[in-house]
Amino acid sequence: MLELLTTRNNPMIDPSLHVWGWEIPVYLFLGGWVAGAMVLSGWLMHRDPGTERPSVTRLLPWVGLVLISLGMVALFLDLEHKLYVWRMYATFQPTSPMSWGGWILIGVYPVLLLAGIAGLPPALADAWAPLGTLARRLRQSDARRALVLANITFGVGLGIYTGILLSSLGARPLWASGVLGPLFLVSGLSTGAAFAHMIARDPDEQSALLRSDNLFLLTELALIALFLIGLATSGVAQAQAASLLLGGPYTAAFWVLVVGLGIVLPLAIQSLMATRRIGHTLVAPMLVMGGGLALRFVVVAAGQASFWP
């Protein structure tokens, strides 16, 4: 028997060790969603150049701008030394994913803005001549290709970073997994795709997004399996961490909210939608988005409850 008596090292006794509340999971969720939206609008722009149809590509960058701003507000609320936030941009720390993230966020804004302007309907853009000129310039093939590339690059970077942010904090064995980066990226893609097919008007585009969402959800299931198997078969600390989700206190939230309601059920519904056995419903994409949010909450909370022995 080993009994450890200490006044520290336990978030139940020492609440200062449970450092991240709702702000960080919400930020990671919104960041992932924007990442998904960027990759998808890059893909749609590439797939359907010069479309005159009511493509969601036109809307996604603007939605992304709102979401990423909300995410940054959440991130800012979490800071304890708010007046010093500019310090983040007074330096670049190559070993700190949080520092990369800060700079990636700065790059995301102009890319989203330009993609948004490129998709403005001519009637709107031409209301102000320079804007109309810029929009037309951005729709030319070279600028368009650059925008496609920038959207996909920044989207993938943003999505992976939200996972690596956690896995770089070596003290929490649950996060000590290389799968977290890809898992958060794919979860962001599925959130982005769910939202996009929810608001898509064009039937062809909606069905393409729906099918891609199903693919992302399947990949996410595989990555979750890899994540758990990887942890359970590593050292004692990781196995203990995995048991938080496999019988421990976070089991119900993880399997019911994240896996059951967030992936399996919507995947089943969306598969029926994809084969046109049922019509399009809002329920499935809403569930996917809720599952993405639940995934961030569970991983952030359970990670903070895992310790090296």
Partner: protein, 179 residues
């Protein structure tokens, strides 16, 4: 170049918590927080029990995750004694370092920055010992330069059986507990 560390004799420590009081006084640690603490590990089966008491604090790790994760460079390895310090004026209070320390050695100071043990560098600089070492009634702590093979701390670590906390975390802690 010095590399400061400590050897703490667990066979002498009685867990009186004088080190904690000394630290709180010396460093004006706010109420409800501490930079050092006492842990008691009880092993065995009744009636054969064995208790190890350890006075714990930041290990000033050789491979400190709290420094690599810091987005602003506020957490840094200081040139003097390679101790790990926080520059309060650079810290944005993101708490990444608190989450990254396997020992729970850091906390957020109510004034908004990350705080923890400094090895009382302001005292060491003047040729004094860290407050906890100075005050210990059993003299169980030895502070000094681990890179100097002649220092008392180096000789203790070289000559006595010892352990470090959470070696699997891979942080290279520099507080050695003598058995």
């Amino acid at each position: 170049m010095a590399r400061f560390g400590m050897a703490i004799d667990t066979t002498k420590c009685v867990g009186c918590m004088d080190c904690i009081v000394a630290c709180k006084t010396e460093n004006d640690v706010p109420d409800g927080y501490c930079r050092d603490w006492i842990a008691k590990r009880v092993e065995g089966r009744m009636p054969d029990l064995r208790m190890t008491i350890t006075s714990e604090r930041c290990n000033h790790c050789d491979n400190p995750p709290c420094v690599t994760c810091c987005p602003t460079g506020a957490s840094h390895v200081h040139v003097y004694g390679k101790i790990v310090l926080v520059d309060h004026g650079k810290c944005i209070g993101c708490k990444a370092c608190v989450a990254s320390c396997p020992y729970g050695a850091r906390f957020m100071h109510p004034d908004g920055y990350a705080d923890k043990c400094t090895f009382c560098i302001h005292r060491v600089d003047k040729g004094q010992l860290p407050a906890c070492v100075e005050v210990c009634p059993t003299r169980c702590m030895t502070f000094g330069d681990l890179d100097d093979p002649q220092s008392e701390v180096s000789r203790l670590v070289a000559g006595r059986k010892h352990f470090v906390l959470k070696p699997d975390a891979g942080t290279g802690p520099r507080i050695f507990y003598l058995e």
